[in-house]
Symmetry: D2
Subunit: 359 residues, 4 copies
């Protein structure tokens, strides 16, 4: 991606020399996520274009200068299928890291596919090879999980693990998920796995709501085909007139925030996890929706290595039963990458995948 709003180009790079503790992966699958669309639109500050996008990926170890230990302490070997936490550096010393306990806000954070220039190396998944520098948190993909399972969840699943932590769902809680993109769909599945009872999903279009039901939603409401009043009536009807205990916003729309707050019960929680770019302001009545309800609203930014590792455990246990792989709707070659980006931009599918080896 040479610059915002310009077509992505295929370029050749020299094979990097391997430092001790580093490895070179032969990319199996990467993804096009909402962040990549934002990168293309130039909506993230400080990005050192040209970049190689693709922050969550899976690859096979082609070369390594070991020994290298995976996060669970086992030695990595050539040929292993490797996945890795995309944030490859945080400082551990700044106010965000050290004092406020919010490493996802560290100003020195480096993220594969986003913060490294293509001039500096193979730091992105839209490439035949990925350079894993020493110290990247990596793991061998469990045998029970296919590359399609992993990348179907992808960065959305990792974000969803963080959102579910912030939501602090109690057994039998009623949950609302707004948005049926990759983050929303994964959040629905994780809410189910966390013991939620009623799970209401609001989204569109029909095929995503169908997938939402297969991920675990007990009630789906089509944003395009229903009025806000109708949706409110349906949610109250499904929750004994009280509203849901927990709402999780994964839609990125100011309207979603306005609607979500009307659907939470007194004493409930509302997690805002979808506003990764500025989509404008919401009109919120602090009396009706926050103070009088004794509500709690929690922002949720980025994810930590622990979310990545726990996402792997979730996949290992549940990928056979939960259709994470169906989120990754279509696989594109590098030659078709601009089509993939256009399809993602138009939200024609929940997620476009990239297979750099495909011709």
């Amino acid at each position: 991606m040479p610059a915002p709003h310009q077509p992505v180009e295929i370029r050749e790079f020299p094979e990097p020399a391997l430092e001790p503790g580093s490895m070179l992966l032969r990319t199996m699958l990467s993804e096009v996520c909402g962040t990549d669309v934002h990168l293309w639109h130039g909506r993230l500050a400080g990005v050192p274009y040209p970049i190689i996008p693709g922050h969550v990926s899976i690859g096979r170890v082609d070369k390594m200068r070991g020994p290298i230990l995976a996060a669970d302490g086992r030695a990595i070997r050539e040929g292993d299928r490797i996945v890795f936490y995309d944030v490859h550096r945080t400082c551990g010393r700044c106010y965000a890291c050290a004092v406020s306990g919010t490493p996802t806000k560290c100003a020195s954070r480096k993220v594969y596919g986003i913060t490294d220039s293509a001039r500096d190396g193979l730091f992105g998944g839209w490439s035949e090879a990925i350079y894993l520098e020493p110290g990247v948190v990596s793991a061998v993909l469990p045998d029970s999980v296919s590359p399609e399972d992993y990348i179907g969840g992808g960065c959305g699943l990792i974000t969803a693990v963080h959102a579910i932590d912030r939501a602090a769902i109690r057994l039998a809680d009623r949950v609302l998920v707004q948005g049926t993109g990759a983050v929303g769909l994964c959040t629905i599945a994780l809410a189910r796995l966390s013991g939620a009872s009623t799970i209401v999903a609001i989204g569109a279009p029909a095929d995503r709501l169908d997938l939402a039901r297969r991920m675990g939603a007990t009630l789906t409401l089509d944003l395009d085909l229903s009025s806000e009043d109708t949706r409110r009536a349906r949610v109250l009807d499904a929750t004994g007139g009280r509203g849901v205990d927990v709402g999780i916003e994964a839609a990125g729309s100011p309207r979603a925030v306005e609607e979500g707050l009307t659907l939470i019960c007194d004493g409930g929680r509302y997690v805002i996890a979808g506003h990764y770019t500025n989509a404008g302001a919401s009109r919120i009545n602090a009396h009706e929706h926050i103070n009088r309800k004794h509500l709690e609203i929690r922002g949720c930014w980025g994810s930590e290595a622990g979310h990545f590792l726990r996402a792997l455990t979730v996949l290992d246990m549940h990928a056979h039963a939960v259709p994470f792989r169906d989120i990754g709707a279509r696989v594109y070659s590098l030659a078709d990458i601009n089509t993939a980006l256009a399809d993602a931009e138009a939200m024609r599918l929940p997620k476009a995948l990239v297979d750099p080896a495909r011709s």
Copy 2:
């Protein structure tokens, strides 16, 4: 108070018969708080006018049908100076009480001075006598605390204890308090007593900001004499450019919520405790102020018996050093009660007190 928007009248009531466990107090002081103004404006739903306002009060035991135990287990005696928790009934069985852990949202809650009709008895402090029904949570005022200390804090202090709990201030946190009415002033003092370092107060006019400093504020900003940009610059300057760790809104204004969220640091908390009536919507950018900041916003409604009891401990320890009494600016007789209400409505003073024995 016969009805909304009508002058308060002085009426005679028969002396009530005392049930076992009840007592009759000779009122020493009561207060006119913001809720009373809202009652007068008819802005609270379901109020059974005519009512006797005055929800937080102090009185001396005139008659009692004992034995009656105070909340600390000691026996109450005639002549004791008694203060009591104004919420005299919650059901303990409903969803709010039993499931969501939010008894301040119980639909059966009965509150002195607000939810009982004057036809049902002496359930308010703007009266020479107050009937304490059996089971009201009551306490003997510590000897170290004067009636003026107690009623100076009054309901604002109890609300502030709840807000401070919700704020979960850590030692050395930097705190913003918006609003310099009774709740705001008490919150400033409690933030100081909870270990806050920098305490910024935004309010008006000058004499209240002076009192705010005496309550513990380290920086006061006059809402009427400064621009939002100036205030923001001052807050950033006082916090190393990061914003405060914790903000507490006690202003009741939609603009305060909009401004407050811009002044909190990444990973911070914001408590909304001042929106007891509907003052309209705030424009909030969920990306900038909640999601990207990984912020937490907490509504805070009403107070529980524990907040009342802990407020007494705070007064016992600190009333000699913290000028809670100065919040209660002026004492009115029952004959002047409409003047008191008008002064409170016009916010000419932080709090008007009522002494029913004064002629």
Copy 3:
């Protein structure tokens, strides 16, 4: 139960007059739980013998003096299958209720089957009829749940909901449950439903461990057939050498506490939910097992109405798939009640049920 250590007798009682808001249930099933054995051993203080034991029960509405609303707001009708929260009174005003947020520690708590004398009425489930006084938190059993499902979980399930809340399991956490009685078995199921990955159960004998696996345990260790060293090695092996994230003690043995603390990882949590009577002291090394591990240990006493209501939701969703009913191993008539008590005392089965209508 006329007194500790004496055979339970069958007595006739007059039909109670119904106050407004009360109802009379025709008992369908009740249970013999560990508490009943303790009652029989005289190990609980202040019990007003003679009592009618049976604190968790299900019955059909025989007579009622309505209208009466269930906890979800719907009107109860004659013939409905009713279940109810056994704690029928707490004060809501004492230090435990009002200040420390621990209503299960209220000194005025009244519990069906435990704290009411048989002289005062039909307050227990080992009886053909149960008197539900006004205000008891009650619910209509969902159609999807059989009496056997409900009473199989019984009080153990409600206790387990509370223990799971205290455990605050995060998605993918590794969990240890000690004890395979009714509470332990239910806790295993709820840990699974809350998103635990590895679930280790330690208990005995073999048939209970078999049931533990069917409830969701991924690894079971027989307390009688393995050494502590072996168990420790197995747990470390199952958790990458770190120990479990969360341990829940439901065994009631001082040895269990000692062993449990050695199996938790750094930064983990340990919930003690099985020590309802005094079984003696545990030897705990505060350096090795608490301070150096940065551990958190949480006691868990009794349960609240919310736990009861959420247990019903869990049953409604999962009773078809989770074999709660298999915990209730055998049904006894009132004539055989002393045999039931003896079987429970000898722990010959996880739970004995009582069907007062059986002859």
Copy 4:
């Protein structure tokens, strides 16, 4: 310190070459804390003797290879009085750092004065000069704080900030602190600053209890001159018969843990912060003191950079009024270091200070 149980020797080291971002401090004051005694006894595993002890220290910038930013973002200059967080490396990637949120348990943690061999450089404060490697979290001591204030609190104050965080004291809580060494004395002061009401200190001898009162204790009990029964009666008397809301153990004795648990009220919290070495087991009755009390026990290990930085804020605000400096009872030269160590070992004073420039 060449090896355990051997006299500390004075050695000469060459002046280190400065890497970019590093600096050399001229030591003003360092301390002898309990950890140093443990180091001398050889009770910490993996220490690479010979070492230069002294993990918390203050020094003046002698040379620097800048620019170097302090933690608050300001540029450090030669001549500044610098204090620094003794943990100079954690990995940020391991399970403790990345998943369980317990960086104080990171296996790669490097700590000044403890984990670095004297062969590797000047990594300890019992030395005329200290080498601050690049990236050490450092701060300029506020003008209002003297070196004696800072080192009086020293590592005990930083540990105490962590313990106070774990204790989550609410305004007006009653608090017990066990132990009147440096950690205990600092904890007393911080409990007071956090809004505690009653503060009971148990310790010895008389002069430390006197200092405890000056730090903020409202009741002191001499461990040597009172029986456990007497102490229990005094604590119950001071807390309305309930026991304290929060207990903090800073004594390091198994007996203290046993006693502490009997003094906490139902629903209370108990922080174990003093067991830094293995002093043997405590006998704890899980029924009486944990389960039935619905208690919470929290271990507290080490401290994070945030605790260090917030300790500085506390000193800046309160060192004029709280006698932290009086904890540092006596200053020793390097020539007298073995006497200092012997005095600390014998607990003849709360803390021995080291001034390497003193002859």
